[in-house]
Symmetry: C2
Subunit: 340 residues, 2 copies
């Protein structure tokens, strides 16, 4: 089934003009008389003419669409990021094509190949937890595809990056726990390869150091899939709770891990914060309704999306290849509630 659209050719034929004249009239060129312009414009409006974006793309050699790869749409943080991207892209007449890696490097690569073959003009990506080999991404970048990293960045690729202030966020959260009197603060980190994990871990370390609390390596655990699989949270928690010096507080490194921890505690009838305090990165707006209301570090997800989109668009629309890149670090928000 087709849906026959009006083309410039139809208009030209109907009005006894050439396609070039019609095209120019529609684009308000100065070399078309007011009379013809009006005639063309009126007729175009009447028949509901919409320029074929595909033909335009082919001619202009750009698709007016940007690709976005995140691990999962159904994750508050990323859906808010996408929301931000969408708002900016839309304003500039760009389409947003979304793909999910589901934290799998393989799917990520497939998405990458797929999106680039769809002729996207640029890419915003938050790499998966599994991503170790980014040679393909690097090759794309070297071949000139504008790329902006958001949240989870790759240091080795020089381009614009938008991240939350993970270091300070983690620092503030840990410091808060310390101030509340917790001594044995465990961290349930996201995959150790991720930039955000390292930054957050660093913040955690610094806060302990500044408070003269010795760092215990066995209080540091990782969820390699970022909490995508519940069992990894479960086993990490079990490991933590089996130790001789049991932690009295948990600092969770991602949205899924945070709520996963709470789920685990609830299952095991561990009271929060009496038995074990909990704080973590999270962007759900439901955290204050949880039991107990969760203390969280919230990232400016929407704004991060906006920032990455406008950076990408500036990259796309710049005539000459860019060499100066910036890393925007946006501050997080510490929301203290009942779980700590």
């Amino acid at each position: 089934m087709k849906f026959e659209a009006v083309t410039i050719k139809h208009i030209a034929q109907e009005l006894g003009l050439s396609t070039s004249t019609v095209s120019r009239a529609l684009r308000d060129s100065h070399e078309i008389s007011q009379a013809t312009k009006k005639m063309v414009l009126d007729y175009a409006k009447k028949v509901g003419f919409k320029p074929n974006r595909i033909a335009q793309s082919l001619k202009e050699r750009k698709s007016l669409s940007i690709g976005v790869i995140v691990c999962e749409i159904a994750n508050s943080f990323f859906s808010q990021v996408i929301n931000g991207i969408d708002s900016v892209a839309y304003q500039h007449g760009y389409n947003v094509i979304i793909a999910q890696s589901m934290e799998s490097a393989e799917r990520e690569l497939m998405n990458l190949e797929y999106l680039t073959s769809s002729s996207i003009d640029g890419l915003i990506i938050s790499v998966s937890t599994e991503t170790k080999n980014f040679s393909y991404l690097k090759k794309l970048h070297e071949r000139g595809l504008p790329i902006v990293f958001v949240d989870r960045v790759i240091d080795e690729i020089e381009t614009h990056k938008v991240i939350a202030d993970n270091y300070k966020g983690a620092y503030k959260a840990t410091k808060h726990l310390i101030e509340r009197g917790y001594k044995k603060i465990a961290i349930l980190s996201n995959n150790s390869g991720l930039s955000i994990s390292q930054e957050r871990l660093e913040g955690y370390r610094a806060a302990l150091r500044d408070a003269n609390i010795p760092l215990k390596e066995n209080l540091i655990t990782y969820c390699d899939h970022g909490g995508m699989i519940y069992s990894e949270i479960e086993s990490a928690m079990k490991v933590l709770l089996k130790q001789r010096v049991k932690p009295d507080a948990i600092f969770a490194g991602s949205d899924k891990i945070t709520t996963g921890c709470l789920r685990f505690m609830k299952q095991k009838n561990i009271r929060t914060p009496q038995d074990l305090a909990l704080i973590g990165f999270s962007n759900t707006d439901l955290t204050e309704l949880l039991n107990p209301p969760l203390s969280v570090i919230k990232q400016p997800a929407f704004e991060m999306g906006q920032a990455s989109a406008s950076l990408l668009l500036s990259l796309i629309e710049s005539k000459k290849p860019q060499t100066k890149f910036e890393t925007r670090i946006q501050s997080t928000e510490l929301l203290i509630r009942k779980s700590t």
Copy 2:
């Protein structure tokens, strides 16, 4: 900044062939010898040739992309639906372009114009709460654009529809409340114009009727923006609680309304379920962690997305215009927890 891609023309030149031969070799045409095929294929692989999808689209007069309009991505139900759509579309080589109406009819119309001008091959839409005038949508449909409705449908447009069994879902929820001994069950419905609202209200009515409980009109309230604006939930609740016969249970008609109600009760120190029971439609996987764990009706969002995508693809890929349309009704799940 461009990123020069290898074209069929380059290959042809390099190999001393014509573009037609290269094109046919790549598409494995029978009229090309095995030798040339191998030569072309090898060379194409070597230089990493990827056919330009835009040129293909222009030629084939289809874009291999489908548009999706929902009210908000950052809403568990819709993000799960999108997830389902994405999974099916991806398998069939289609792009998914997402737009958000934010429950505004105006934005929805803009999205509609935008997406159709981007030459989408088909559309999946869940209309906004504000949508009263669907003439534009109807016109598009009559002009041959394949459309599938998901969740919020428009009866007047004949095409495939995918919905949850809202009637039965609401019926089960209301019946459950009745069985728990609640007598004065109020409903906080979504916008009255929405198909889902009417179906859910009907289920609510039927359950009361079957239990011989007289329906009280003043226990029926509406949130015209589907809970998008918190204040509308607030005022609706205030109205309910000011009445002479105060409700002892609330049945909420959407995800946002359900959590919004809980938020309101928490603010006003209304205990759940002692002072007021609460049940509602919701798709967040956090409901069991809430305080109290919420009883909810859960829709098979992912599956609904899958179904609508495959229906849309069948519509797109069918040679002749379809006249037989189906409405898939997928059953909901009643999850009973502490709030009732």
